[in-house]
């Protein structure tokens, strides 16, 4: 598992039913591209997060396939519909098989 991986997600606490909200996510990860070399000229092996998904109450919002060209500490911003109160779940899939998860509840006014 890559060290110091910390997901951060920004979701409003409340929304009106049927509203559109903007979600911002950031996860600290070095996203080693597999292109860089160390001081001895050896290629540093690729180690990235290759997939991100966001679901709300089991329904998919977005599913992103990420490649080495995504910057360090991958940041994603997108919009979601909130049909009812519930929970957003965010999942990041690491190359090494680790899965990082976080969830945010949202209430409907």
């Amino acid at each position: 598992m890559a060290k110091g991986v910390k997901p951060r997600v920004k979701v409003p606490k409340t929304a009106a039913a049927g509203d559109t909200i903007t979600i911002k996510t950031l996860i600290s990860h070095k996203m080693e591209s597999g292109q860089r070399k160390d001081d001895e000229g050896n290629v540093i092996p690729r180690s990235i997060i290759n997939r991100f998904t966001c679901d709300f109450n089991g329904e998919n919002v977005i599913d992103v396939t990420m490649e080495p060209a995504i910057s360090t500490n991958p940041y994603l911003e997108f919009e979601a519909l909130v049909p009812e109160a519930g929970e957003f779940t965010f999942t990041w899939y690491d190359d090494d098989g680790s899965i990082y998860e976080t969830a945010k509840k949202i209430a409907v006014e």
Binding site: T20, I21, S33, Q35, R36, K37, D55, F56, E59, N60, V61, I62, D63, V64, T65, M66, E67, P68, A69, I70, S71, T72, P74, Y75, L76, E77, F78, E79, A80, L81, P83
Partner: protein, 138 residues
Amino acid sequence: MELTRRNAIVMGAAAILAASLPVRGNAAAGDLIAAFTGGAEVGTGDIRLIAPEIAENGNTVPIEVSSDTAVEIMVLAMGNPTPNVATFKFGKLAASRAASTRIRLAGTQDVVAIAKLEDGSFVQTASTVKVTIGGCGG
């Protein structure tokens, strides 16, 4: 072909030449586009790509893709050692077919976004980004 001394030299020289050529993204990018579209024709239309004209640091270039009817958007950096950047698939609860992220660019190049629309057709757009410092190390 018989493995004579001459042939061996020719093959060796060809191999060295092939290995020493800079990795060109374009052929690979063409394959990726074909794999994404399934060989279908790519038109222009309902796809927007917002990228800076000049990026000082190729390590983090903010981009945004959006479309009104896309189900899937693929982003390619044509001049990167590996051209694919990301593929966004929009689910049922995606309020807009838009997303933004930060990408790495190896140098000044075209960034291409290809969208698969709801009707099954494909559209693309491109934007040239000038990069002052490349973002692929080495």
